[in-house]
């Protein structure tokens, strides 16, 4: 995707805001984001884009070698909403915005509304399809099950695209079957 501003470089920064149910998205390259900040921000509604950009331009020189900060992917704050705080570790929404990090495992639940959109920009999917910790057999079953579903769903889409409806029906039934199996495994695998 090209930068909305210079239309030359690859856009690496995606800013999204929802105001009164209207979604606005802007895609920028690092350079343009820094320039826009220098010029006092973009004409992009009343929300605090400057703050977002400030963090972006500030971090561009100092980011760690291995990780892109998540801060740039977190959607901008709705001014009317109350700040989210994690009851387990005390991590705040402000800290998430500033550092792009979370404070503990429970934060993933607390800040889920902010993270959902961010995940779409950062990752290739919304659920984990990789390995799981050793020594948890019920989870293993669930996992394999989910991976199969995901694979079949891709095949299903392909089949529909190719107008192979008979094949699609078979795949759909198989997916439903697996989903039930998955639910049973999840019931067994629930922790504590």
């Amino acid at each position: 995707m090209l930068c909305d501003i210079c239309k030359k470089n690859e856009a690496t920064i995606h800013i999204q805001e929802i105001t009164n149910g209207q979604k606005k998205v802007i895609h920028m390259c690092q350079e343009c984001a820094a320039t826009q900040h220098g010029q006092g921000g973009l004409d992009f509604g009343p929300f605090n884009l400057a703050e977002v950009l400030y963090k972006l331009s500030g971090q561009s020189g100092a980011k760690s070698a291995d990780d892109d900060s998540a801060a740039s992917h977190v959607p901008a704050k709705d001014p009317d909403a109350a700040d989210l705080v994690c009851g387990e570790c005390g991590w705040t929404e402000e800290k998430l915005r500033k550092t792009g990090k979370l404070g503990c495992a429970h934060c993933y639940t607390v800040f889920a509304p902010l993270l959902g959109e961010a995940f779409k920009n950062m990752h290739r999917g919304l659920s984990h399809l990789g390995k799981h910790p050793a020594g948890n057999s019920a989870n293993a079953e669930l996992h394999i099950c989910r991976a199969r579903i995901s694979k079949l769903q891709k095949e299903l889409q392909q089949a529909i695209a190719n107008e192979e409806y008979e094949n699609a029906a078979v795949l759909r039934d198989r997916i439903n079957e697996l989903k039930q199996q998955c639910d049973r495994a999840a019931g067994k695998g629930e922790r504590e």
Partner: protein, 355 residues
């Protein structure tokens, strides 16, 4: 003798030998981020919680000898700053780990191919470093270590999101795979930017290894995955592998093109690089990297009878500031260091019988 001095007798694992005849991919690294259930991530942890995490990991690693018999444990709090820098230069510890004031540690296998950083951005950063282009082998190694660790430690894991990490950019597999590539041919041919743009479009990251900004003097680039959620580990690895194979092909083409159409430019670069390394008396870190890159290109293209890849690899590590100071046995300031660097390089090249 300190433990770090013992490390210095090792050949650096990721450069120690050539795994195959692949000379463009220098090393392969896979790193997994893991956190312990029941403790806040390092981002929100109090000092006693850092210590609790460090103790839990040390207990698991040491009691079960997960890193083998001759493993090392470095507690950053008690380590001399110069020794900590050595760990960084050997790619066993990150800058972020070195900055942590409490409870930071790194466990290293005797041959340095495995390391577990504790209390970096996440409680554990498990890594394997292998020479050359060995993605599958690296995955097998790290997968096994991770399994053995997870039998001892309770990792934060969610059925939907996978491994939970301090930074949501790592959630899911928690896996960052990176391959270091030496791309002097593409740089000389002026095609590097095109390749970098292409890779970025595929959702992979490219970074210069040494130095800041775009001026990469060692012609070393690291390609790694960005996305960690929504694909399995083997899928991520396969995707990265396909892209890197293409980059290697481009680099090979660029090199043979240079040899065919711009022979003098190539010979001049290699010759000047070697001349500088062999005969200079003041050698900055930038110049050393640039000329070592040239020398490595010459070795790759069989232009030397007397200079071998082992020597070049050894020098890539030896020219780093902390390694030089360990060799000198004392602190060296900037100008003094450049003189000592030149001396070290000259002597090493002389010793290996080249002239």
């Amino acid at each position: 003798m300190s433990q770090v001095d013992e490390l210095l007798r090792n050949k650096v694992s990721y450069l120690a030998d050539r795994a195959s005849d692949e000379d463009i991919a220098i090393s392969t690294r896979i790193r997994l981020a893991r956190n312990l259930n029941g403790l806040p991530f390092p981002s929100a942890a109090a000092p006693e919680q850092f210590r609790a995490a460090a103790e839990a990991v040390a207990e698991a690693v040491e009691r079960k000898k997960l890193l083998g018999g001759g493993a090392f444990r470095f507690d950053l709090e008690t380590l001399l700053p110069l020794d900590a820098e050595v760990l960084f230069e050997r790619r066993l510890a990150s800058r972020e780990l070195l900055r942590r004031e409490t409870g930071a540690a790194v466990h290293v296998s005797g041959d340095e191919s495995l390391a577990v950083m504790v209390n970096e951005e996440d409680h554990l950063r498990i890594q394997t470093l292998k020479p050359g282009f060995q993605l599958e082998a690296a995955w097998e190694t790290i997968d096994e270590l991770d399994n053995r660790l997870s039998a001892e430690l309770d990792f934060a894991y969610d059925e939907t999101l996978g491994y939970l990490t301090a930074c949501p950019t790592n959630v899911g597999t928690g896996m960052r795979v990176s391959v270091m590539l030496h791309l002097p041919g593409l740089v000389l041919a002026g095609q590097l930017n095109q390749v970098v743009q292409g890779i970025a479009k595929l959702g992979l990251a490219v970074r210069g290894i040494f130095g800041e900004g775009t001026d990469n003097r060692g012609n070393l680039y690291q390609i790694s995955n960005q996305s960690t959620l929504g694909e399995s580990e083997p899928e991520i690895i396969a995707r990265l592998k396909r892209v890197i194979e293409q980059v290697i092909t481009h680099e090979k083409n660029a090199r043979s093109n240079l040899l065919e159409h711009d022979r003098c430019k190539l010979l001049d670069l290699v010759g000047r690089s070697y001349g500088t390394l062999r005969h200079s008396y003041i050698l900055s870190s930038e110049e050393a990297l640039k000329t070592l890159s040239g020398a490595r290109l010459g070795v790759d293209m069989n232009m030397f009878s007397s200079l071998d890849i082992h020597t070049v690899n050894e020098l890539f590590v030896a020219i780093n500031p902390a390694h030089l100071q360990k060799l000198a046995g004392r602190t060296l300031q900037g100008a003094e260091r450049d003189i000592f660097r030149a001396q070290t390089v000259r002597e090493l090249l002389r010793r290996t019988g080249s002239n």
